[in-house]
């Protein structure tokens, strides 16, 4: 089994009001160093070996992303994030 990560982002020319709203919230929180935010989607697929990369491209191009308005990247077996868990204690997360 191999982990495949597909990330989907709106094309640069398509405006992203959700990202803009996040940016507005950050500005209100005082994070003035953030100049812009764009919001996307990340899919983690558990795929049987050997991974058929052509099939993954097709999956991303037909279902996971809408190529009319979105771009995507495919990473096969990317290294796990160094710090996958939030450093915040659980009580901070549920409040």
């Amino acid at each position: 089994m191999t982990r495949v990560v597909v990330e989907v982002m709106l094309k640069p020319e398509i405006s992203d009001p959700q990202g803009q709203a996040v940016h507005g919230a950050l500005t209100r929180l005082g994070h003035r160093g953030v100049q812009g935010v764009r919001q996307g989607k990340r899919f983690e697929l558990e795929v049987s070996d050997p991974v058929d990369e052509l099939a993954i491209q097709q999956i991303a191009d037909t279902l996971l992303a809408n190529p009319v308005i979105e771009d995507f990247t495919v990473q096969v077996d990317p290294p796990a994030p160094a710090n996958a868990r939030s450093p915040l204690p659980p009580d901070r997360l549920t409040s």
């Binding site: 709106l10 398509i14 009001p17 959700q18 996971l64 809408n66 009319v68 308005i69």
Partner: protein, 243 residues
């Protein structure tokens, strides 16, 4: 303002069978069926999980939140079993109207250009909306070109977008079906409320003509024109039936 007078009771129109697809999460299939009936035609219920179009003469994809709008609005519905048949039938010339979520399904299916995304202001918008009919199609033939109508609009992801090349092509080819007038409710590019394919048979519209077919419940009866148009067009041409 008013659409052509329907001819309910006419045998020719009553023989026209318009299929209305119900997906899990469809909301406006009942109103769409009612609009077809009020216009004088015969609505036929179609189910998303089958490959059976029941030999209908035309198909309506109704509003709602098919499959919960998971992934993207209309995305999962566009791969449902019935949509394989709808897409094949559309390519053979069977008229298809997608309203709201149905418009999203048609764009996701690649039958119409562009895409529908989150409203620019991020709010759900629900109001009576003025539209200008901009193209003569199988679904708008009963409207005088350029006429303004009032029908409800209600969407959270109704902002029509496309690349500049797509939008330019849609405009140059006269494929803008209708434009918002008196305020754009969702930030759609170039005030586009609906588009048509080059043949005028596959049509998508974000506002809801099926909610404007009776004075008791709608802001007007302007929406009837979409349904009388297709009934008259099919009864006149005897368009080929879907398999």
């Amino acid at each position: 303002m008013t659409a052509a007078v329907p001819r309910p009771g006419s045998d020719d129109l009553a023989q026209v069978r318009v299929g209305i697809v119900t997906f899990p999460g469809s909301l406006d299939d009942g109103d769409a069926a009612r609009a077809v009936r009020l216009a004088g035609g015969s609505p036929v219920a179609l189910w998303h999980g089958t490959h059976d179009l029941d030999s209908v003469d035309a198909v309506i994809l109704p509003g709602g939140f098919s499959y919960g709008d998971y992934l993207r609005a209309g995305a999962i519905a566009s791969f449902s079993p019935i949509m394989r048949e709808v897409i094949d039938a559309a390519k053979r010339g069977v008229p298809v109207l997608g309203i709201c979520n149905g418009f999203q399904v048609l764009c996701e299916s690649g039958l119409l250009p562009g895409a529908l995304t989150r409203n620019a202001h991020l709010h759900f918008r629900n109001r009576d909306q003025r539209l200008r009919i901009a193209a003569r199609t199988a679904w708008t033939a009963d409207f005088a070109e350029g006429v303004e109508i009032v029908v409800p609009v209600k969407n959270g992801e109704g902002r029509y977008v496309g690349t500049v090349e797509t939008l330019d092509a849609v405009e140059a080819e006269g494929r803008v079906l209708a434009r918002y007038v008196g305020g754009n409710p969702n930030g759609s590019a170039r005030d586009i409320a609906g588009v048509t394919d080059p043949t005028g048979r596959i049509v998508g519209l974000m506002p809801h003509p099926e909610h404007a077919v009776e004075e008791l419940t709608g802001p007007s009866t302007d929406g009837l024109g979409f349904f009388t148009s297709i009934l008259v067009s099919i009864s006149r041409t005897g368009a080929g039936r879907a398999a």
